[in-house]
Amino acid sequence: MSTLHTVNKSAFERNSLESCLSVCKANASVLLIEDAVVSALQNTTISEQISAAANTGVKFFALSEDLRARGLSDRRVMDEVTLVDYAGFVKLTTENDRVQNWL
């Protein structure tokens, strides 16, 4: 049993990623979409939170279309974060048992 969490707002602006991570289980997946893709960048004030959660077994994903829109190439994204496209987004929702959309 596992949960897909989606976050759509920048962790620099809102508390939704932090709240999400505070209830994430080790087998959970977190998908960053819309403005939240900026939270996937390397060497930011957020990166450490993502690394720490990844070390406990949480899997991180970011929507490549939203990264590309904002001029943020794969090179800048943390190693812990896997890029997926919309087809991959759909696949994640089916591979997990439920979806929690942090709004």
Binding site: N8, I33, E34, E65, F89, V90, K91, T93, T94, L103
Partner: protein, 130 residues
């Protein structure tokens, strides 16, 4: 799999309606069923037939209406939210003494029970909003 999609924001101001649209297309392309799309809160504003966006921009209402036609989608606009925000079908418009209906093709007005029922009948429910 069967999906129900809830959309909380209107077109253009926030990306949520765009994201929901792209997700819905991708789910259909992957062979999944979209059981229902429920437009709630400001999301009801996606269903206005009066929208005229700039020529060089996307027309979200049109995109939704076209997708509904191609895939026989069940697109519900929450009645209480629609009344608050001025989205009317023929019946609502006559009942409240307003002018021409402004609901776009493919959108139907119905109650919140449709959202719960979507949750009961679908394998996954996703919410897109701000």
């Amino acid at each position: 799999m069967k999906f129900t999609i809830q959309i909380n924001t209107g077109p253009y101001t926030h990306q949520a309606s765009d994201t929901a649209y792209q997700f819905t297309r991708a789910a259909l392309e992957a062979g999944h069923e979209i059981y229902r799309i429920f437009f709630y809160h400001d999301g009801v504003n996606n269903g206005t037939s009066y929208s005229v966006p700039p020529q060089d921009d996307r027309n979200l209402q049109q995109l939704w209406s076209d997708l509904a036609e191609q895939h026989s989608l069940d697109m519900i606009v929450c009645v209480a939210a629609a009344q608050r925000r001025g989205i009317m079908d023929e019946g609502e418009s006559a009942k409240h003494g307003k002018g021409s209906p402004n609901i776009a093709p493919g959108f139907q007005i119905s109650g919140l029970g449709q959202l719960i029922e979507g949750g009961v009948q679908s394998d996954r429910l996703l919410v897109f909003g701000d």
